[in-house]
Symmetry: C7
Subunit: 75 residues, 7 copies
């Protein structure tokens, strides 16, 4: 993929903490450990947030890309 | 598939117990016995959970990948 | 398809009774007579269930795979 | 398509009366006159049913396959 | 496309008046002037109906095929 | 694309004012400046309408084709 | 891609501020830093708006294209 592809911006965040909004309005936060071009990805130390409070901790989570609305990534 | 693909993280859990959140907000827990690149998968000893209580037991279940929001997998 | 594909687990149930949960939350139960890789399938002696009671009997039914959430299959 | 494909079971019903449940929960009943592999199909003498009563008569109707939940077909 | 394809039944209605039910439950009626294999189509003298009364008149309308539930076509 | 394709009817409206109904039931009106075969398109002088009153003005807007229900086009 | 493709109009806005309406009705505003043909894109200095007031600030955000309704782009 060319360097300027949006997905490349995600790959550059491997091992960084990202926040992910899903279509069901839940937010997951965790360390990005894997991702592919469909935005399928795995997080370690994954937390589910609600109104910025931690609602659940899941350890390692695989999120299906087609459920993702957006991903907040460190600059 | 390259080793670092998210789906590979699922394949490494074959025979382990995973929890799966579906788009209809139900959670299934069971032993992962098969999976493919679309996240179609089979569980044995499958249970459906609601508020962390067991709501139903199904034995062997085939889950269609496109209904999956996320999968919690052991580290 | 390789032997370990999830869809193969379904093919091995041909002529067995399976239960199928659809996206509209209805459950069908019947003898599996055909299936393909999209989970399109036919049941004979098909019944629609609601709270485990029989709601309707349909004889032979063709179910479109993309409406399926999960399939309970005998072990 | 191999003989055992689910769609083949539909093709074998050409000229028979079938009932079709759509995703919007409406049921159509009519004589199957054409079908393709996406389950696009045409009915003649098509009726729309509600609680088993006839709600409307449409003559010839073309139904888009991706709206179909299931099709009840004579055995 | 083979002569017996469902879409062919639509092509044979070019210049005839058809009624089209959309997924948002609106009905359009008009003269079919163009169609393609995805059921994208254009109507001239298009009217939007509600409970069989005319709700709006649009002149020429291009309807996106994937929103179509069914099309009533003259026999 | 053959001349009679529905999308061609849209291309012929380049520089004309069109009205577009989206799946979320909003209507956009503006001058069509670009379009492609997926019905992705750009409008200039775009207005959002509600009950035929102007609700907002956006200048140039790119609309994603898969959200479009229908497009009213001048004859 | 030909110069007149709608997506090209987006590429020409790289480094400009755009507003993006998502299917869940949220609006994001930020500087467009990357985009691809699926409308996947990244924004820097991204803000989420509600009734034209700023609801949240996210820094860098990757938005999945298939959630986008429309993009307001400077002329």
């Amino acid at each position: 993929m060319p360097e300027k592809m949006p997905i490349k911006a995600l790959e550059q965040q491997l091992n960084d903490v990202v926040s992910i909004k899903l279509k069901d309005q839940r937010i997951f936060r965790g360390r990005l450990t894997r991702c592919d071009m469909y935005m399928n990805l795995t997080l370690s130390d994954a937390e589910e947030l609600e109104n910025e409070a931690i609602r659940a901790k899941y350890g390692q989570v695989l999120i299906r890309g087609n459920n993702i609305l957006w991903i907040q990534i460190p600059e």
